[in-house]
Symmetry: C2
Subunit: 127 residues, 2 copies
DNA sequence: CTTGACCTTCACATCAATGTGACGGTTGGA
DNA sequence: TCCAACCGTCACATTGATGTGAAGGTCAAG
């Protein structure tokens, strides 16, 4: 599919899809006329990238991390240098920290919302 | 304590602590001489801010969200407008999404690391 | 009193992630 | 044929989070 379609289907601006290519995170094929041609997989891929970027992961890390996220695996297993492995472990740990921070905060917010709701909305339910 | 001490204790650069004040996330008292004076709570507070920023949350949201993260609660419960409440709910939900994305990716990375380790390190353990 | 280690504000620089728009090519349908 | 709706690259603007440094105040120790 072309960039416009992928953009439609993912909600990600064309500009950003081009940026993802520029940074090496999502590289599409090219039609003879030079248009970017994305395969079906690119949809998930793009959304995954979006999610990671939104979660605060910088593009260069996303780029390093993405190859491990393709299920088929097995092929690229051999291509991992010790440095890459180290980086991945550090990344895994820092992600765990983020997850914990986010979870704690989210739960606190949820409790807060609950409390507010409960302490001043003991009203009957509508229609 | 003064900014240098807080910086030492949290590992957060002075510059950033001033920035947190500028954006209204962490406002210290002032000594008569104009120096910033942080209380003990500020340590946790600063670390929390750091964690949320690292997790990709923008400062204006951190600012909105922080008041709910103070345990004592109860006092500021009344100050929540419906708009704030709505914002908090949206934020809670988007945090949940982030957490899921991060968790999925982290687990995938962890699996990958495991696989690589297992497929080429069936070596005896050292010392 | 001077020095050094703090602190202040201000301001400019940088970097990554985005927005925006100019300018031009391709293509399919009226 | 011509227009509309795509696409391409290039490039500049912006925003948020930071780094860096200048110019000067405070204060305790020597």
């Amino acid at each position: 599919m072309r960039i416009g379609v992928l953009s439609e289907r993912t909600g990600i601006p064309r500009r950003m899809l081009r940026y993802y290519e520029e940074t090496g995170m999502l590289i599409p094929a090219r039609s003879p006329n030079g248009y970017r041609e994305y395969d079906e997989q690119s949809v998930d891929r793009a959304l995954q990238i979006r999610g990671l970027l939104d979660a605060g992961m910088p593009t260069r890390v996303v780029k390093q991390v993405l190859p491990c996220l393709k299920q088929p695996g097995a092929i690229h297993v051999l291509g991992a240098t010790p440095e890459t492995l180290g980086l991945l472990e550090r990344e895994r740990d820092s992600m765990s920290e983020r997850i914990e921070t986010l979870t704690r905060s989210r739960d606190a917010i949820a409790r807060y919302i609950d409390t507010v709701r409960r302490t001043r909305a003991p009203e009957p339910q509508e229609a």
